[in-house]
Amino acid sequence: MDIHYSADDLAFQAEVKAFLRDNLDAALAARVAAGAELTRAEMEGWHATLNARGWVAGHWPREAGGQGWGAVQRHIFDEECALANAPRIVPFGVNMLGPVLLAFGTPGQQAHYLPRILDDTDWWCQGYSEPGAGSDLASLRTRAVREGDDYVINGQKTWTTLGQHANRIFCLVRTATEGKPQEGISFILVDLDTPGIEMRPIRLIEGGYEVNEVFFTDVRVPVTNLVGKENQGWTIAKYLLGHERTSIVGVGFNLEAFERVRTMARNIRRGGRRLIEDPLFAARLAQIEIDLEALKLTNLRMLAAAEGKGQLGDAPSMLKIKGTVIRQALNDLARRALGPAAAPFPSEALEGNLALAAPEHAAAAADYFNNRKLSIFGGSNEIQRNIVAKGLLGA
């Protein structure tokens, strides 16, 4: 038993820290910390910075342009980036499509698409969810009908994050209607320039814009854009969701959120004392800190298990549930900490002398509402419980 990183891991951690110190612009980090909507240029700039170092997709194999990082190294990298308030890598190409192509793509697809992900030629978005089929992917209705060398796609996707910046989309489509619902699904790549595609923004609860609806009307896509075999999409989808679930946990983001709330509570004065001296507030914070310390260790146990150094059953689902609950509890505390000052909409409504909170805290309420999504997307926490229950009870 050893709960500490190995010497190699520690050296790698130091390397990441140094890289972030030298390459991450402080003003950009401050905007990330404040929960600002980043510009396309900011996201692309950080992508390029990482790619120059070979770290944009460090968990890919070396021959594909990655570093072949194991689970622990990848975790160290993600955690340091989160703690430093680096922009989050846009995950759809790097963390979703990339692994899918590596596992299911043809050599030609890999050769064509992977480098374009690394150098940001392609900005991918995802076409998974549909209206009326949130966590129940098997019921999806977007049809792809084979006509000669094309599929003709009709239907609608939703919750397409950052689709406004993307030039390509990977989709789950229905290619057969017989048999079990999940047996007739395929995974296909679509160029967003193809005629018949319309993207419409969805305004979110807190007023922001990060997701879209995508409408497909007689969209023709060459059959060579299929990934894997026709009707193999369900297998690919599960593979991808497993990856997504693990990354939603984001222990590093939780640690960063904890530090932020602690700092707020130290700086905010209320009723003649610092908020951190309010025993009720401090008790809430301490309870979350303890849960988070445990989650950190649970996460390390999962990583070690992935490298054969421990065991943990149903880890991704459990971590997804607990990780999102903790993150939401931290968002809740940050919002509370502001008291009446959490009110202004949008958070930039009052600036300069008039501002009610430090810029990095002003969006606390908006973040709280926006992050209610964490327990809903990537397979809602209820779906995760169903998955674990099946294992426990054979139910």
């Binding site: 609860i205 009723g271 309010d278 709280y368 509402f369």
Partner: protein, 356 residues
């Protein structure tokens, strides 16, 4: 003991519900709620005409109600439709004018809108922490300082401002035109303002206003509790409706027992919220008022968050969108806890009695 509403209050409920449903549908609400001054003057006049303001004061002060249950009747209706009009500020101002023995006819008639400026930038709910000052200059009073998150501020013609004059905590009236008013919409809709006073002229309303201020804040808290109960009822109804109609895995999601039990727990907590609000309303004007109000505001803050989060979670992704009504109920239910003292603040007040 009788928990049936009087005929007058039942009629007021029906009148307001009908009016708000017809004249303040969700599309209109969204337009008003986020655009300064977050107020529709025409509808305000109609609200006044229908009695939404008159119900807030007793007859001797020019109204026709003024009991705790009158106030909860009005605010439950406002809560059910998420009406963003500045009735909260009007209520607290009216109570203070009544306490000062001043005529409030124009406020009651809806021709003049007033807001209460009490809290300051540190967000403290304690009157002891007020730092704004008032100075008698011979030719009148001058006020200095900053008042923060003044509810209804963008639409107010005048403010009642709590300020310090030496050891005394007094109340002054300041015209909106005389001060610097920085208005903004709130994340859950409705307007608030920063009020910047710099040797700003004010008219003395009460020299010692501490007790009257605490009382007015209690009325404001009671109103928020009732508004929350109205909003919870709607949020629960929307959720139940969603559970009955939305299908997943081939059946309505309301057929899943885990969601059923959580929907039931929501209902139980809403009844508790209604009960504690009734308790507070029935305690107004008694020695138990302040404690009853703190109990109510603490429970409402806790349960409001639970109802909001559960309603969102059971709706799933759709609740994350601006387009879905539930998202706005969810925001209001959470943000009510940021107004006039949150759940922990009021819990601490309840606890304070134990040490005695």
């Amino acid at each position: 003991m009788d928990f049936t509403p009087t005929d007058d209050r039942r009629m007021l409920t029906e009148t307001l519900d009908r009016f708000l449903a017809a004249e303040y549908p969700v599309e209109h609400r969204m337009k008003i709620a986020y655009d300064l001054p977050c107020h529709d003057a025409g509808l305000w006049a109609q609200l006044a005409e229908l009695g939404a303001l008159g119900a807030l004061l007793p007859e001797e002060a020019g109204g026709f109600g003024g009991a705790g249950f009158d106030v909860t009747t009005v605010f439950e209706a406002l809560g059910r439709t998420l009406c963003p009009e500045p009735v909260l500020g009007a209520l607290m101002a009216l109570r203070l004018l009544q306490a000062a023995g001043q005529d409030a006819t124009d406020v009651l008639e809806g021709t003049r809108r007033m807001a209460l400026a009490v809290g300051e930038a540190d967000g403290s709910p304690e009157l002891d922490d007020i730092a704004c000052t008032a100075r008698d200059e011979g030719d009148g009073w001058r006020l200095s300082g900053r008042k923060s998150v003044v509810y209804g501020g963008p639409a107010a013609h005048a403010f009642l401002v709590a300020a310090r004059n030496g050891d005394a905590l007094g109340l002054w009236e300041v015209d909106a035109g005389a001060a610097e008013v920085a208005g903004y919409a709130m994340i859950d809709g409705g307007g608030a303002a920063e009020l910047l006073l710099s040797d700003t002229r004010g008219r003395l309303v009460m020299a010692d206003a501490r007790a009257a201020l605490e009382d007015a804040l209690d009325w404001g808290r009671l109103a928020l509790c009732a508004e929350a109960v109205g909003a919870m009822d709607r949020a629960h109804a929307l959720t139940i409706d969603y559970l009955r109609t939305r299908k997943q895995f081939g059946r309505p999601i309301g057929a899943f027992q885990a969601l059923q039990h959580r929907a039931v727990d929501m209902g139980i907590e809403i009844e508790q919220a209604r009960s504690i609000t009734i308790h507070a309303a029935g305690s107004m004007g008694t020695p138990g008022q302040s404690r009853a109000v703190s109990m109510a505001k603490s429970l409402i803050g806790r349960v409001g968050r639970q109802i909001s989060e559960e309603a969102v979670q059971m709706h799933g992704g759709i609740a994350m969108t601006w387009e879905a009504a539930i998202s706005h109920y969810a925001k209001r239910l959470v943000m009510i806890d940021h107004q006039l003292g949150d759940t922990d603040t009021h819990l601490a007040r309840v606890m304070a009695a134990y040490a005695a």
